[in-house]
């Protein structure tokens, strides 16, 4: 693509590429890393990156970031995703970390940031509640001040990997009389606190990625409040805006597209009447990826010239998820009759799965990727955002 790298940048790219090749743990190369790894396995790469000083590309140097340029960050992002490495814990590094170093006090920074970088603390996100959907300001979980503590009661849901988490960052309602967005505070809660219960939610692909988190009379020290009481919505929005990079998922889509091509070439003869349809649809998606990648490069070029990318994140989220859903759909179609089968979790049980290896995760990926247009602000919400922010409607 057209992002012309300087020689320093090219050298950096080569360094990243070599580092991944040499250091990415072999045991993390499983059919479906998102669901097939234990907590300890998931953390292996995180810890390697931490040791290298590369765990938090977005963080300022003073807090432990590598001090990279926007282009370097982009190169790192591109190389890691193309290589198919499991991203570091997003809820820790990308989400709560920046909130803490931006809005937290010194004690909070000293206590939490190093443990985030090292992977010692695993964070999960307490935003969604039953019935909130994309309307995150409709928080009903209550926190009532009681001396040096808040007493928290409520029910968080769709909490990703809460089963592994040491801490949860929560939106809680501290002023029930204020307008929805005004009475919210941002609290850090130790998952080991009495009154915290995690209940698995099994999704339609059979995996356990998300959970209900019940909070019953959980006592949270006031020192765990971020910033000011009732100002939590500001921090929450900051956090959501921080997801900007990598939502296009070019690296992942490119990898899955290559695999799809391999499957189609192996499974479907050129004389099969649907062969032409497959290669045409693959070409279509490939062009979608190319156009999105070229758009991403334009945005990176603008950002490095100091231009605000605006709601580019929404565009990337919409198109990136549509593309990936389409790829998983086509892959599921490509494996034909074996699309009827699905792996049983936990895979450690090692049950029989029919058909060629490359098809074993096709069904679960097709099902699992349905979530992409729902979670993280549904694609309908993203279109609302663009309509408002770009089109002024």
């Amino acid at each position: 693509m057209e992002l012309n790298l300087s020689s320093e940048e090219a050298a950096f790219r080569d360094e990243v590429r070599a580092f991944i090749a040499e250091n990415y743990p072999a045991e993390m190369r499983v059919p479906n890393p998102e669901t097939d790894l234990s907590k300890e396995q998931m953390l292996l790469w995180h810890r390697i990156l931490h040791q290298k000083g590369w765990i938090a590309p977005l963080w300022p140097k003073e807090h432990g970031g590598p001090g990279w340029s926007i282009t370097q960050r982009f190169i790192f992002e591109q190389e890691t995703s193309r290589a198919g490495t499991l991203p570091p814990l997003a809820f820790s590094v990308t989400m709560v970390g920046p909130v803490i170093y931006t809005f937290g006090n010194d004690a909070q920074k000293q206590k939490f940031l190093p443990r985030i970088l090292s992977g010692e603390d695993w964070w999960c996100q307490g935003y969604s509640e039953p019935g909130s959907g994309s309307d995150l300001a409709s928080v009903r979980t209550k926190a009532v001040r009681d001396g040096d503590h808040y007493i928290v009661n409520g029910h968080k849901t769709w909490t990703t990997l809460a089963q592994h988490a040491d801490w949860i960052f929560c939106l809680v309602r501290t002023d029930p009389s204020a307008k929805p967005q005004a009475g919210i505070s941002f609290l850090l809660i130790d998952m080991k606190s009495p009154g915290v219960t995690v209940r698995p939610i099994i999704t339609i692909d059979g995996s356990h990625e998300v959970n209900d988190v019940f909070l019953e009379d959980v006592r949270v020290p006031v020192e765990n409040l971020i910033g000011e009481e009732n100002k939590g919505w500001t921090y929450a929005k900051f956090l959501l805006g921080n997801e900007r990079t990598s939502m296009a998922g070019i690296g992942r889509s490119t990898r899955y597209l290559e695999r799809l091509k391999h499957i189609v070439r192996t499974e479907i003869g050129e004389d099969d009447p649907t062969f032409g349809e497959f290669i045409k649809e693959i070409a279509r998606v490939e062009l979608d990826v190319l156009a999105l990648e070229a758009t991403e490069l334009r945005i990176v070029a603008q950002m490095s010239r100091g231009i605000d990318p605006g709601p580019a994140a929404s565009l990337f989220k919409i198109r990136g998820t549509e593309i990936f859903q389409r790829i998983t759909d086509l892959t599921h179609q490509a494996i034909g009759n074996y699309g009827l089968a699905i792996r049983e979790h936990p895979v450690s049980a090692n049950r029989f799965m029919p058909g060629p290896d490359y098809g074993h995760t096709a069904t679960e990926k097709y099902l699992n990727s349905r979530k992409l247009s729902i979670y993280g602000g549904s694609n309908e919400i993203q279109r609302n955002i663009i309509a408002k922010a770009v089109l002024g409607l």
Binding site: T157, I202, P273, T274, E277, N337, L340, A341, P354, R370
Partner: protein, 376 residues
């Protein structure tokens, strides 16, 4: 239903509806799927008692003479309740093949046990690389005295772990992709040298990979004319498609109602989801998709009943159009249910998965669209 049903058909439909409403709600179904065996002999017996297993067969075969319209009525209601029992495999596929291609002796030998619910069947036509073509058969059957000896592997045979009998396609002559030379055999599920590797399907069924290592089958178990299995399977597929379309229509109708209801009840940003115009239009398109699918499915069933000459082309057309429509409805039903749509606890995802499987069984929408196009 929009075509005028006969009194008998109305009776059939209302008896199924009553039974399923009372005995086969989503919780009950979940329990059945979670059992070791994965299906319910109790409910199966009830289906047989209601006459469902005999419904489509000709009166001359001892059936109730309901034909393809009876199948449509049953399958549509089964689609509404995600019935897991192997009615499609036993009655529609195997029963249809036996009635259509079997000798009088075979019909007499096998159909009564299907109609009274005492035998479960499955049909093994697919192979690892066959995709959706009946002629792609590498499993062989060679004559040895009074027997055929079958060797090879069959793939993704839905219902095989539950079955007493299997109908297996194997090559008695010709090359691996020849249309001629494929024959059908009735094989005992517990035959020597027949091995099953079972697995669960995405829609809660059980299926198996079959390995046949010199399985001996008496020559009397050859079903239909030797070498003409593809023709029999193609006719079977037309009936299968009509049944699957009806099942899809049943599933779609539940998804549409559930989505509509949810959108009216569920509040976001202080108003009901259903007040958002984008979602309204989405649901209108789901409504249209369902209406068109009902029409085309009825049209197909009526055409098969009347033995119209273009029935097979029409079957491919319906499989494609209804398949695309059902996928659209299923995907949007999940999308509009938001996170709940992704949860295994809600019924929506299970309808999604059944529709996704229907779209694979006997060929996906793209396959049948091209098949239809090539006949136009």
């Amino acid at each position: 239903m929009d075509i005028q049903l006969t009194e008998e058909q109305e009776l059939l439909r209302s008896s199924i509806q009553r039974f399923l409403r009372d005995q086969y709600d989503f919780d009950e179904r979940r329990k059945i799927v979670a059992t070791d065996e994965g299906w319910s002999r109790k409910h199966w017996s009830a289906f047989a008692e209601l006459g469902l297993c005999a419904a489509p067969f000709q009166e001359s075969s001892g059936g109730l003479g309901g034909g393809s319209l009876a199948t449509m009525i049953v399958m549509r209601e089964f689609g509404r309740h995600l019935v897991i029992e192997p009615y499609f495999e036993t009655v529609v596929l195997a029963g249809g093949l036996i009635e259509d291609a079997g000798s009088p002796e075979q019909r007499e030998a096998f159909l009564p046990n299907i109609m009274d619910g005492s035998a479960i069947w499955a049909v093994a036509w697919a192979e690892g690389r066959s995709r959706y073509d009946f002629n792609n058969v590498t499993t062989t059957a060679r004559r040895q005295g009074d027997n055929f000896v079958l060797s090879g592997a069959k793939a993704a045979v839905i219902g095989a772990p539950w079955a007493d009998k299997l109908i297996v396609s194997a090559r008695t002559s010709g090359g691996p992709r020849d249309r001629d030379g494929v024959s059908l055999f009735v094989v005992d599920r517990h035959s020597a040298n027949l091995h099953l590797q079972s697995f669960k399907t995405v829609d809660g069924r059980r299926a198996a990979e079959l390995t046949l290592m010199d399985v001996h089958v008496p020559a009397s178990q050859l079903l239909g004319a030797e070498g003409e299995g593809v023709v029999a399977l193609e006719a079977c597929r037309d009936r299968a498609i009509a049944a699957l379309c009806a099942e899809a229509v049943g599933a779609m109708s539940v998804l549409n109602s559930a989505t509509l209801e949810y959108s009216k009840a569920r509040k976001q940003f202080g108003v009901a989801l259903g007040t958002f115009q984008v979602l309204q239009h989405r649901m209108v398109d789901m409504f249209i998709a369902l209406e068109e699918s009902i029409s085309l499915t009825q049209h197909l069933s009526l055409s098969l009943a009347a033995r119209e000459p273009n029935g097979s082309k029409l079957a491919s057309g319906a499989k494609s159009k209804v398949g695309y429509a059902a996928r659209f409805v299923a995907e949007q039903a999940v999308q509009l249910h938001g996170g709940m749509g992704m949860s295994d606890e809600l019924n929506v995802g299970h309808y999604f998965k059944r529709i996704s499987s229907i779209n694979i069984q006997f060929g996906d929408p793209a396959y049948h669209l091209m098949r239809y196009a090539q006949q136009s």
